[in-house]
């Protein structure tokens, strides 16, 4: 029996196995190489996980292909809906345990995993279960115009793509899995998923749930490993589409290879996000929203270093209000109910953040970090704000996967629009203003996939999420998100 851990008050204890194989064709099988996944808060080894090799990925893709051709693509939508509902209910039942595993493996605070991530995970499966038998009504019929008038009430649903390779990141591991796997299965595709190297455990627990739900073997396959395994999945000739969450650099490589091989792809790449605080904004609400959205919730927008632009007449008020709140944040044990900020996900991330923060300071940015006494072990970095940075500094432009704010002031709305839009990224933006014509004016001009007005970081399975330009490609969630998993004619179909 593996590691048993008590958890935060009110949570159930979890049982982890000593080692996990790969979930291929409906069952776990050992592989040839293993690696260890650790708790970033204690560096304690949680379990041994299999490193997927070329042969393993071949087997997973073959299992997915067979399941697609013999079972899954032949099932009526209603039958797929039943399986997805069953998975949704099992996730709901096991949510407390999954939240603990997620916090152990990723370093995210239990309040975040239990109260935000897991409810969203369950909701994604319920939401997409509902689409599985309604795809004909999703607006992607494509044939309705050519049909005799009146068109039949229920046109044939659009077709799935086939086998989908999904490679996901570490910031919200199970949530990212949910918003990739649920729509893929609802639309009739089968999946080979590679979770992040540092956070494989909830994906493996999800594999157990698939088995428990009686999902036909091969419909979902989970192959763990590092970036190399991810490349094997994304670049496999046997898959029809790649869905990737991660860095812009890797995203571009996937786009190139997809162009060469004639594959579909969708990308969620993060990048930078902006919070714009106007002169008439409710400053306390804005400070609260920024601190919650950037430091605490760190939902999907986690992978977006947050730039705050504040009207110059309220700059000092806002910085003061943000600092007060940052100083009150509690860093520590991710399983402690009282923790606001958990551990940095991995040593590699910690090294990257530390290096970038040093470079920012030597570039002349004024650093302010919340008081923080890190434990002896584990990976920690305090919530940090950099003041008065120029747009040329790396800290303002590069993706930073840990909550760091940069703050600068602006004089006029036109100026802040130009400055916000002056990056290659465009994931999300927050607009804080009491005058709603101003917030609407700003929202209309910002080049960002999501604009939150007087709030920050809201997510819902019914709402499309994704970035402009180099922050992403395609959308996930909502009716729009189905498009990524259906065989639709479109401008971005590679012509090969």
């Amino acid at each position: 029996m593996g590691l048993r851990r008590g958890a935060a008050e009110g949570s159930s204890p979890v049982t982890l196995r000593d080692s996990y194989g790969l979930f291929i064709g409906g069952s776990f099988a050992p592989g040839s190489a293993v690696f260890k996944t650790v708790s970033p808060a204690t560096e304690e080894v949680l379990a041994e996980v299999t490193h997927g090799t070329t042969e393993d990925v071949d087997r997973a893709v073959a299992a997915a292909r067979q399941a697609y051709e013999r079972v899954w693509s032949l099932l009526p939508g209603r039958e797929r809906a039943r399986y997805l509902l069953r998975i949704a209910r099992l996730l709901r039942d096991r949510a407390p345990e999954l939240a603990v595993i997620e916090s152990l493996d990723s370093g995210k605070p239990i309040r975040q995993t239990r109260d935000v991530d897991l409810p969203l995970v369950t909701a994604h499966f319920f939401y997409h279960a509902g689409w599985a038998d309604k795809l004909a009504h999703a607006g992607f019929g494509g044939t309705a115009a050519a049909l005799p008038n009146p068109a039949p009430p229920n046109p044939a649903p659009p077709r799935p793509l086939g086998v989908v390779g999904q490679v996901i990141g570490w910031s919200s591991p199970l949530l990212m899995l949910a918003w990739k796997v649920a729509p893929a299965l609802a639309c009739g595709n089968t999946v080979v998923l590679k979770p992040a190297e540092s956070t494989p455990l909830t994906a493996l627990a999800f594999a157990e749930i698939c088995a428990e739900a009686g999902l036909p073997p091969g419909v979902v396959n989970i192959v763990t490993g590092d970036g190399q395994t991810g490349q094997l999945v994304a670049g496999h000739p046997g898959i029809d589409k790649v869905a990737f969450t991660g860095s812009p650099e890797v995203g571009k490589e996937i786009a190139k290879s997809a162009a060469l091989w004639g594959k579909r792809f969708t990308l969620e790449l993060g990048g930078t996000s902006a919070n714009i605080v106007c002169a008439d904004a409710d400053i306390e609400a804005a400070a609260q929203g920024i601190v919650e959205g950037v430091f605490i919730r760190q939902g999907h927008a986690c992978c977006a270093s947050s730039r705050v632009f504040v009207a110059e007449e309220v700059h000092d008020d806002l910085v003061g209000a943000v600092r007060r709140r940052m100083a009150a944040l509690r860093s520590g044990d991710p399983l402690d109910e009282a923790t606001d900020i958990g551990a940095v996900n991995s040593r590699g991330q910690l090294d990257k953040i530390t290096e970038l923060a040093r470079s920012a300071e030597s570039d002349g940015a004024v650093r302010w970090s919340a008081p923080h006494e890190p434990p002896d072990r584990g990976f920690w970095f305090p919530p940090t704000m950099f003041g008065v940075v120029s747009q040329e500094q790396r800290i303002a432009r590069e993706e930073l996967c840990w909550p760091v704010l940069t703050v600068s002031s602006f004089a006029a709305p036109d100026e802040v629009v130009d400055r916000t839009n002056s990056t290659r990224y465009g994931l999300s933006a927050g607009v804080w203003a009491r005058q709603d014509t101003l917030s609407a004016w700003l929202a209309a001009r910002l080049r960002a996939g999501v604009v939150w007005v007087n709030s920050f970081g809201g997510l819902d399975p019914a709402v499309p999420f994704g970035g402009f330009q180099e922050s992403g490609f395609g959308r996930e969630g909502g009716r729009h998100g189905l498009e990524a998993y259906l065989d639709l004619p479109g401008a971005w179909t590679p012509d090969v």
Binding site: A81, L85, F126, H137
Partner: protein, 323 residues
């Protein structure tokens, strides 16, 4: 088709002790208990009651009527609703409307999925009721229950999606953002189709409540017992009180009160024979009720969106985008 997904159902979740009193006989029920088994299958001892505001009640007049099974034998007594019961049901539906219509689509979806879980769990009991009422084979009765569960689930999934296929963002010639959003019309009277005791009932009820309307359902005159059993499932699933109210009795006696009621916003005439339907449509014009009147429907066929659209208003909001 034949599988009613028992793994989805967690008996421990059930908050109410069971469906037996006063709705379902225990025979065939997957949760039939030893103590209840002493009762003779199919011969309930209580009078079936109305379901108003989340509670089971006798008719205000105290009247009942005899329900006969497919073989002509006496089956049960059921409450005979009249004007006062119809008015009480409208009041209950109106009271539930603010909460139900303002709940998020996701919350409504969860509440409706829960109803399907309970129906699936009591699959055998529902099938037994359908057979007693309408005859036919056990297979056919079970198939109807399964189809009703599927239909209910299908509509439940629309709770957080109907806006996405019905709403529009309208490009206007000026510095304005405009959106047109669906909203529920309000309290809807639903006359259940006479011939399809369970599948027909859910096929007309689910599209009304999924978008946030509340309903006064008039059960099929011939098959009131499956409708009351369905009400028991709603109660066991803890659907908020008043969202669905179920009246049994004579359609021709109850429905004119609903059609003329000034606080009813829409009426579905699926259960009214032609001449009565004409009269009800005329009465409904008194406050311009939305009248839902579709041609004869094959309840086993997959529905379209039309029944949901029929009880939705459209609200357009203009907002300036200027600075």
């Amino acid at each position: 088709m034949s599988e009613a997904s028992p793994p989805d159902f967690q008996p421990a979740d059930l908050q109410l002790p069971g469906l037996q009193p006063p709705g379902l006989p225990p025979s065939g029920g997957e949760r039939a208990q030893g103590g209840a088994a002493a009762r003779t299958a199919g011969v309930p001892r209580t009078t079936y009651r109305l379901y108003i505001g989340g509670a089971f009640a006798r008719a205000a007049s105290g009247r009942t009527f005899a329900v006969h099974g497919a073989d002509g034998a006496f089956l049960a007594s059921a409450a005979l609703a009249a004007d006062r019961d119809a008015r009480d049901a409208v009041v209950a539906a109106r009271g539930a409307f603010p909460g139900w219509s303002r709940a998020s689509g996701y919350e409504r979806g969860q509440a409706l999925y829960r109803v399907a879980e309970v129906m699936a769990a009591y699959r055998g009991a529902f099938a037994a009721q359908l057979r007693l009422a309408g005859g036919g084979s056990a297979e056919a009765a079970t198939a109807e229950v399964d189809a009703a569960v599927d239909r209910w689930n299908w509509y439940a999934g629309w709770a957080d999606k109907i806006t996405q296929v019905r709403a529009t963002v309208n490009p206007v010639a000026g510095p304005f953002g405009t959106v047109s959003l669906p909203e529920p019309v309000g309290v809807t009277a639903v006359l259940a189709p006479p011939e399809s005791a369970l599948l027909g009932l859910v096929s007309v009820l689910a599209p009304v409540i999924v978008s946030g309307n509340t309903a006064v359902l008039v059960a099929s005159e011939r098959y009131p017992v499956p409708a009351v059993a369905f009400a028991e499932a709603l109660a066991a699933a803890e659907l908020p009180a008043g969202v669905v109210n179920v009246l049994t009795g004579e359609v021709a006696e109850i429905s004119p009160w609903l059609a003329a009621h000034q606080d009813v916003n829409a009426i579905d005439l699926a259960g009214a024979p032609g001449p009565l339907a004409d009269d009800l449509a005329v009465a409904a014009a008194g406050n311009l009720k939305r009248v839902v009147r579709f041609p004869a429907t094959d309840w086993t066929a997959e529905p379209g969106l039309e029944r949901m659209f029929a009880t939705l208003e459209t609200k357009t909001i203009w907002h300036p985008l200027g600075r």
